[in-house]
């Protein structure tokens, strides 16, 4: 028997640290070659770490949310024959990790009777533990620290040790059953005193940082204009009817992408990146349109590259492909970076107006609101038209209000006369 140690790989662009997102295995699991052990994340790309060997997991090198140095031990696997670690070179660290991790194996066994007891919440639910309200839960310093790291309030944890002592495995059990307990509150009007602490890690931390950074650095200036999309919607319906079966259905997004491409020709200052540290604005010839996408783990912005060189259907297919990849957390780093302008749409939930936050270092973001049928006055007549608002934000540090307004008016003109989208 030997130990095979897998280190945190360098997954690109010379990044020194990688965040461990999720474990797909636990200590004691048997793994086979190519089985995915963990997902790790850099910036916005999620990467699978597959196992190169068959064997049994003996230690995990970190906890989800932990930022680990490239080259640090990610996981240790016991393998047949010699591993990649010399016996003598096996330092204290893996031994210690194994000791800490060992209870986790038992936790799996433990959790079964607990789950079975679930219908009797009086016995197994945290607050009902026979412990006085202000009584200190019994737990060793190591367990207390672990609970703090996990954001668990010890007094809510049922201790299975002697005299109700909270053990490491009790924390695991508590985490495992956390979800199911929440739903077992019987009365809709029961007073609730529970609170849940969610560590801001992974995607959420990245998003939080970026949003904060953007609102702190950029001088946001928002501009809303209503657009008559009756004509472009008619065109879209017509194209879908005629080519939908063969070329795929078109949403409004590829039309918007096209409108941006055409309008940006006259507004190069808006298809740009502003490096405020170097004080340089880079105007791009290419139009790389970021498409803000809601994934389970949070907001992601996959990028339709070279939109200027794509037809409607080409754009549509690329948007669909990227959205799926992003939602599955499998979009690559390249697919998630390098946009020059961003399009954000909440679809049917688009509301009337939004105030999008810039995707720095870009200088513009265009938000799409909901299409509604409204009575409009055209040539003295009240007619029903399909109307849609565009809510856009610009970095006022480098984009003047006049330019921004003229740009949106250009987009509006293109969308209201859809033929002009394609006239060269």
């Amino acid at each position: 028997m030997g130990t095979h140690v897998i280190k945190m790989p360098d997954i690109g662009e010379g990044i020194a640290e990688v965040e461990l997102s999720v474990w797909h295995v636990k200590v004691g699991d048997m793994v086979v070659e190519d089985q995915v052990l963990a997902d790790v994340m850099t910036d916005k790309a999620m990467v699978d770490i597959p196992s190169p060997v068959h064997g049994k997991v003996i230690a995990l090198g970190g906890q989800p949310g932990e930022v680990m140095a490239v080259g640090s031990v990610l996981i240790s696997i016991e393998v047949e024959g010699a591993g990649n670690v010399k016996e003598s070179a096996q330092p204290a660290a893996p031994v210690k990790e194994a000791a800490v991790a060992a209870p986790k194996v038992e936790a799996v066994v433990e959790s079964k009777p607990v789950a079975a007891a679930a219908p009797r919440p009086a016995v197994c639910q945290g607050p009902m533990v026979a412990r006085e309200a202000n009584e200190r839960p019994l737990a060793s310093p190591a367990v207390r620290k672990h609970a703090l790291d996990l954001g668990i309030q010890l007094r809510l944890v049922r201790g299975t040790g002697p005299a109700g002592r909270v053990l490491h495995e009790d924390l695991e059990t508590y985490l495992a059953q956390g979800q199911s307990n929440a739903s077992s509150v019987s009365s809709a009007y029961a007073q609730r005193n529970d609170e849940q602490q969610i560590p801001v890690i992974g995607m959420r931390r990245k998003i939080a940082q970026r949003m904060q950074d953007a609102t702190q650095r950029a001088a946001h200036f928002s501009y809303v204009e209503e657009i008559d999309v009756t004509a472009v919607e008619e065109l879209r319906a017509h194209l879908n009817e005629k080519h939908g079966a063969t070329r795929g259905k078109l949403t409004l997004l590829p039309f918007l992408v096209r409108a941006l491409v055409v309008a940006l020709r006259d507004f190069p200052q808006i298809n740009a990146r502003y490096d405020d540290e170097a004080q340089v604005i880079t105007r791009l010839g290419a139009v790389h349109v970021g498409i803000a996408t809601q994934a389970d783990i949070g907001l992601m912005v996959p990028v339709v590259r070279h939109a200027e060189a794509r037809s409607l259907w080409d754009s549509a297919a690329e948007i669909a492909r990227l959205a799926t990849a992003a939602r599955n957390g499998k979009a690559s780093r390249d697919e998630l970076s390098g946009s020059s302008i961003t399009l954000t749409s909440l679809g049917a939930l688009g509301g009337i107006v939004s105030t999008p936050v810039l995707n720095l270092p870009e200088v513009a973001i265009v938000g799409v609101n909901k299409i509604v049928e409204r009575p409009m006055v055209i040539k003295g007549q009240i007619v029903i038209r399909k109307m849609m608002n565009l809510s856009s934000s610009f970095d006022h540090r480098v984009v003047d209000g006049m330019d921004a307004a003229q740009f949106i008016q250009a987009v509006r003109g293109l969308l209201e006369q859809p033929a002009t989208l394609f006239v060269e």
Binding site: L138, P162, A163
Partner: protein
């Protein structure tokens, strides 16, 4: 004016401050520590360490003197003499080694130490002389000062513990004002070094912070050593011409106690004066700075640790707080949540209290088993010529979880480790009773106390 920028600034180089700095250095936090006097603070320079050194000298001297008179051990020596200058030199050597060690550790961890008195400007700015230091996080660790009595101003024959720890000569007569642990530790040491010692205490017992059963062996030892106790006596003043201390007896009489020196040891108070702490206008808790369970004061990113943050004023508490604060600043999640903090009196015999006493447990509404095991039945204690004292355990009756330990006896300070460990791990009586304790050691009394609580002590 020179301006320095740093992430963390610590005011005070005592056990709290220097531990914060070392841990912060380990975590890669840019750290500046400001100390006006000597690294190590009260503890290393004028507190814990020098007092233990002096107590050791006194004990050695006392033992030798015992042997010169009558030795049951069969040792005969001629009457010893004491070169107190040399004793102090030896003590200073220890202090020097320790403070130099602290300086080396700080250097090793890349902490910048600035000598000088800090003056707080605001929550992120401190001035030391003509240097202005800007920081993101400020840790206040200025410790505590001896409480003074207005009628006994320090000077001449009236001394504080600081002077008592660096004596030029041992006075013929010494009156200790205050029967707490500082007064008794020093009073007993001075007695053993040859002074006639009296203790004046306003309360009705010595060590009034501890229960009567626990302090009884110390009381007996004081009697044996010939230390005079004036309990329930309050000090009125000092006549420097007649060299007499006036004390009001419980019956209303005023006693005139002749003495050569008066040691004022009536407690310590947080050091909040003289460094412009007022500028921060922090919320207070009595005379100490109010902190939460992360040592955060009422001002964001300003922390207070150690004696400055109030009771218990113990170096090991300050160190634990400091270590935690450094980790908090580095972004780790921590809180100060010890089950117990051991308190030790290096009197003769020594006294240890960890966790709840029987009275405290009762006050907390706990139904407890209280059980003690005497050192009179412990072989190791006998071989140390120690007959008095005991180990006492307090445990919940319902689940046998131990909530407190107390001990009094020769060398019991070292048992504090086992006591604290058992409390932190949530041990039950059965855990301690079921742990094999080495024979012959004082620790056997710990196991036996637990067994006795379970109704089956073996050696009693």
């Amino acid at each position: 004016m020179q301006t320095l920028n740093t992430t963390l600034l610590i005011i005070g180089g005592g056990p709290g401050g220097y531990v914060t700095a070392i841990r912060a250095g380990q975590l890669g936090i840019a750290t500046i520590l400001v100390e006006g006097q000597s690294l190590g603070g009260t503890c290393l320079n004028i507190g814990c360490i020098p007092s233990k050194a002096l107590i050791h000298v006194a004990e050695q001297f006392h033992q030798t003197q015992q042997h010169s008179q009558h030795s049951a051990l069969g040792i005969s020596v001629s009457a010893p003499t004491l070169d107190i200058g040399k004793s102090v030199e030896w003590k200073d050597g220890i202090v020097d080694r320790l403070t130099t060690g602290v300086a080396a550790l700080l250097k090793k961890n890349k902490v910048q130490v600035i000598q000088g008195w800090a003056k707080v400007i605001d929550g992120k700015t401190v001035e030391v002389g003509d240097t202005r230091i800007q920081c993101e996080h400020l840790v206040l660790a200025t410790g505590s000062k001896s409480v003074n009595l207005p009628m006994l101003p320090i000077g001449g024959p009236i001394i504080s513990s600081t002077e008592a720890l660096a004596p030029k000569s041992i006075p013929k007569r010494l009156i200790v004002v205050g029967g707490g642990y500082i007064g008794l530790e020093l009073g007993i040491a001075y007695r053993k070094l040859g002074a006639e010692v009296s203790v004046v205490e306003a309360q009705e017992r010595i060590l009034p912070a501890y229960d009567a059963e626990l302090t009884q062996p110390v009381h007996e030892e004081l009697k044996k050593l010939g230390v005079k106790l004036y309990l329930k006596h309050s000090v009125q003043g000092f006549d420097s011409k007649a060299n007499t201390l006036q004390a009001l007896a419980p019956n209303g009489d005023t006693l005139n106690l002749e003495t050569d020196q008066v040691l004022v040891a009536v407690g310590r108070k947080p050091n909040t004066q003289g460094w412009n702490l007022e500028a921060l206008d922090l919320a207070m808790n009595g005379s100490s700075i109010k902190i939460d369970n992360r040592c955060q004061t009422s001002m964001r990113n300003v922390y207070a640790i150690g004696d400055l943050s109030g009771e218990p004023m113990l170096a090991h508490r300050a160190m634990a707080q400091g270590e935690m604060v450094a980790e908090l600043i580095s972004g780790k999640s921590r809180e100060f949540n010890p089950t117990a903090i051991a308190a030790v009196c290096f009197t003769d015999p020594e006294l240890v209290v960890v966790g709840q006493t029987p009275d405290e447990a009762k006050a907390a509404g706990l139904d407890c088993i209280v059980s003690s095991f005497p050192f009179a039945a412990n072989g190791r204690a006998m071989t140390l010529e120690s007959k008095s004292g005991f180990v006492r355990v307090v445990a919940r009756r319902d689940n046998h979880v131990i909530v407190g330990w107390q001990a009094v006896g020769v060398g019991v300070s070292e048992l504090s480790t086992a006591f604290a460990q058992s409390l932190e791990m949530g041990a039950q009586l059965e855990d301690i009773g079921g742990t094999i304790h080495a024979h012959p050691t004082l620790g056997e009394a710990v196991q036996e106390a637990a067994l006795r609580a379970l109704g089956h002590a073996l050696h009693l």
